[in-house]
Symmetry: C2
Subunit: 83 residues, 2 copies
């Protein structure tokens, strides 16, 4: 089976995010009432796995492999079976 | 009301994604059977708006402001009311 995986990798709360701060300044300059803007990475991929549970487990391992545990958190946002 | 917005900005299909290609190589090297790895940005923010519909509309405008319409697509992934 093939699965579509969406993985988010973001800075932990409390870790200074200069890119988020810059975007926040831009948006506030455009009069959007935003705060706490945080910028992270989203990874989309197709993964071959025998079952959804194994796809989800592999997605967790991939998130762990690609994120920095000191500064970042990852979230397996979605695991969808492809036709 | 305050809303938590999650916005994804990704390269359009067909636009070469060297970062995704690099991550794909790393994951395949680790024996993960992945393909079509794409790397994009995720933005999380808090937004003040009078209603969920207006928060969603503002999130769309923000996505339009922050993405490059030639190369990127944006998705308003989530709009959640904060307590």
């Amino acid at each position: 089976m093939k699965y579509h995986i969406t993985l988010l990798i973001e800075l932990k709360d409390g870790i200074l995010d200069p890119q988020g701060r810059a975007v926040e300044g831009v948006l506030q300059g455009l009069q959007y009432p935003v705060e706490n803007v945080r910028v992270g990475r989203v990874l989309e991929m197709e993964l071959e796995a025998p079952s959804e549970a194994e796809a989800r487990a592999a997605a967790h391992n991939i998130g762990r492999a690609l994120s920095n545990p000191v500064m970042e958190v990852f979230v397996v946002e979605a695991v969808k079976e492809l036709a």
